[in-house]
Amino acid sequence: MTFTLAYRALIGIIWRECLRFVHQRGRFVSALVRPLIWLFVFAAGFRAALGVSIIPPYSTYITYETYVVPGLCGMILLFGGMQSSLAMVYDREMGSMRVLLTSPLPRWYALFCKLLAGTLVSVMQALVFLIIAYFYGVHFPLWGFVTVIPALLLGGLALGAFGLFLSSLITQLENFAGVMNFVIFPCFFLSSALYPLWKMKENSLFLYWLCSFNPFTWVVELVRHALYLKFNGPATLVVLACAVIFASLAVISYDPKTALVRRQVS
């Protein structure tokens, strides 16, 4: 693969993903409305019920809205990753995935481009959400808009790679609803997105450990620290490792020689 081919293909795949996103305005609106409802309605309602103590990276008591914003950024990345995964299943059923896989690109690179393109769209959504949250009154350092970008990218790549791997296992579009119920909701609720883990520990040690082992928790903590100009080394390592592992599994699973699920062609 030459550099020119790699570069043009990457730009082409990102461009297509952005075009699809622009054409599907409802997708953009729903991607923003979901976390905004959580911020405007859910967070306002639970503000009194869920007090938050001083926990890193915060140096003072914070409102619940402030606490929940990084978790909602994680939610955008999680739903974005699953949306890309759904698009992959759809593309495969509709045949356009075959177009990508029969191009002269190495399969791992084609999948990487697809993953990166989906992640960039999710990161853009998360940044728009952060701007709205900032003007709503959730304050964080302005430089946080810059330092959060690498964290959003890494988190988006890890969750997108997870979605990519899932899409390789799903044989039919109809099965995707099950994935939403059994993957997205446990991932989101068994994490530090909505409540700090010490609160979970107070109520159930078992659930606390589940939350601690959930990669999504580490994505949320990575974003939370980056937004407040702090570097979270362990979270970076865990999220990076998850991205590599899930991306490798996806490449293995999309290779017909090593595929985990064998499909009949149509």
Binding site: T2, R8, R16, L19, R98, T102, P104, K257, V265
Partner: protein, 232 residues
């Protein structure tokens, strides 16, 4: 000179064997018609050639870097315009925007799509979508074009014009074309024919050779004899 060599290829889905010791070659600058009834194993063979399925038995020698494919199932992005679909595929082949633009002009004219280039694919009818698929497969100027029932679902005039266009392009572009179909009227006199029945090659050669082998007067008759024999 051959563009694809298929040797002793077999393939099964579980216990169901769909290809049995398939061997034939696809010559350059010529159309090879892969004739077979539904379920003969044509699409599986195409997927093996395109690298979408792993080859468990046998060998396939083909340069996949210069491959254009029209799948039996439509594979266009319905949300994008004709030009955007073609540009996307050109980028996957490392073609610059400028070169892609000139090739799009060159391809859409003869396919009677020049005025539809900015229309969304969703707004095109089946015949036009098929033409866009063909333009997409040819934009990278492939040495080998795989066409899996490219005219399925089209009306007779559209089918005829596509058959004539693709035969002309094979010669003009020095391209090998492997065309799977069960519609024998798509075969032209100087085509190479491979008849596949029950996953096996029943006949392989020029039109004259196949007519001689089957003692038939027409390709339709020969196909019926071989397909019938395979089914029996």
């Amino acid at each position: 000179m051959t563009q694809v060599e298929i040797s002793n290829v077999s393939y099964s889905y579980g216990k169901r064997q769909v290809l049995k010791d398939v061997t034939f070659a696809v010559p350059q600058c010529r159309v090879t018609m892969l004739l077979g009834p539904n379920g003969a194993g044509k699409t599986t063979l195409f997927s093996l050639i395109a690298g979408l399925l792993a080859l468990p038995v046998g060998t396939i020698t083909a340069d996949r870097k210069t491959l254009g494919v029209v799948f039996q199932q439509p594979a266009l992005d319905l949300e994008l315009t004709v030009a955007q679909n073609l540009n996307y595929y050109a980028s996957l082949n490392g073609i610059s925007r400028k070169l892609a633009a000139s090739r799009i002009d060159e391809l859409l004219g003869p396919l009677e799509l020049a005025t539809r280039r900015h229309d969304r694919v969703r707004d095109l009818n089946g015949g036009h979508r098929r033409r866009v698929e063909i333009a997409r497969a040819m934009i990278a100027e492939p040495r080998l074009l795989l066409l899996d029932e490219p005219t399925s679902g089209l009306d007779i005039p559209t089918r005829k014009s596509l058959v004539a266009y693709l035969h002309a392009q094979a010669k003009a572009r020095n391209m090998a074309v492997l065309w799977s179909t069960h519609l024998v009227d798509e075969v032209e006199a100087d085509d190479h024919i491979v008849i596949l029945t029950n996953g096996q090659v029943a006949a392989d050669g020029g039109v004259e050779d196949v007519l001689r082998q089957s003692k038939s007067k027409s390709v339709a008759e020969a196909f019926t004899k071989f397909a019938g024999a395979g089914a029996a």
